[in-house]
């Protein structure tokens, strides 16, 4: 069955870049949870960049799964940052208060650069 969300993972040194394309809701949240969990626990990444340029839709189920991965990364001493959000997705981050605990960047490049300063 065709899923309405695609997850693309790319490792750049100790940073895992997660690109989400499509729609993140309760139905598709599990894919994000499993793929990210697997990559974080098996890989050698310290930090995560969530790249959301092609994420067309997100609801509170998406916030839940992102908050969950944030806690996992933070518990391992790493950082999770977000880049390239669409206005509607950004608005949900603001409304939920996640805007205060995550750092936001305009592009993947600036997000990765920002992480390498702190690592």
């Amino acid at each position: 069955m065709k899923m309405s969300l695609q997850v693309e993972l790319e490792q750049q040194r100790n940073v895992l870049i997660v690109r989400l394309r499509g729609e993140l809701d309760h139905h598709t949240a599990d894919i994000v949870r499993f793929k990210m969990e697997d990559a974080i626990l098996r890989g050698r990444c310290d930090h995560v960049v969530l790249s959301l340029k092609d994420l067309q839709f997100m609801d509170s189920s998406g916030l839940g799964v992102i908050l969950g991965r944030y806690k996992l990364i933070k518990g391992r001493g790493g950082k999770m940052v977000v880049c390239d959000t669409q206005p509607s997705v950004k608005r949900l981050f603001e409304l939920s208060g996640l805007f205060k605990i995550l750092s936001f960047y305009d592009s993947e490049r600036s997000a990765v650069a920002g992480l390498e300063v702190v690592s």
């Binding site: 309405s4 309760h26 139905h27 839709f57 189920s61 509607s88 939920s96």
Partner: protein, 148 residues
């Protein structure tokens, strides 16, 4: 556009129907010529309400029925999302930001807050025997109306 229009959808309480429901309502509402932002708000609200019915009303069971109704009256859209599942025990608690009755499911607890923020009117009717019904209204100032 003015006048009166109505639609009703009933579907199985399966999570793949969350996107079906929000896309269908968005297509119906587009008659009012909403902005992209208003359309995103309506899609998000429908998604929250249907997800609540599936997760909380029916505990993830797929044999329940979720009913979505939308009504256009002039420039106002009324939405109702209902289930016949387990009702909400404590409504005041459920409406608190960040509260979730199912912390093990990694919920953000923001569903009600989002619905209340994105709609002009929001009301919940829930009983243990009869399930839960969310009723909401939003005024759409049409782009056409602004330009004319």
């Amino acid at each position: 556009m003015s006048g009166h229009n109505h639609m009703k959808l009933s579907f199985a309480s399966r999570s793949e129907n969350e996107s079906f429901a929000r896309v269908s309502v968005a297509a119906f509402v587009s008659q009012l010529d909403p902005t992209l932002e208003q359309l995103d708000e309506i899609k998000t609200v429908v998604s929250e309400a249907v997800t609540n019915a599936i997760i909380h009303g029916y505990d993830g069971r797929t044999d329940g029925i979720v009913t979505v109704e939308a009504e256009i009256d002039g420039d106002t859209i009324s939405l109702s999302v209902s289930d016949q599942g387990r009702g909400i025990e404590d409504l005041d608690l459920a409406r608190q930001p960040l509260y979730t009755s199912r912390p093990e499911l990694e919920r953000s607890g923001m569903g009600f807050t989002i619905m209340e923020n994105f709609m002009d009117e929001f009301d919940v009717v829930s009983s243990e025997a009869g399930g839960t019904s969310l009723r909401m209204k939003k005024r759409i100032e049409s782009k056409k109306a602004l330009f004319n």
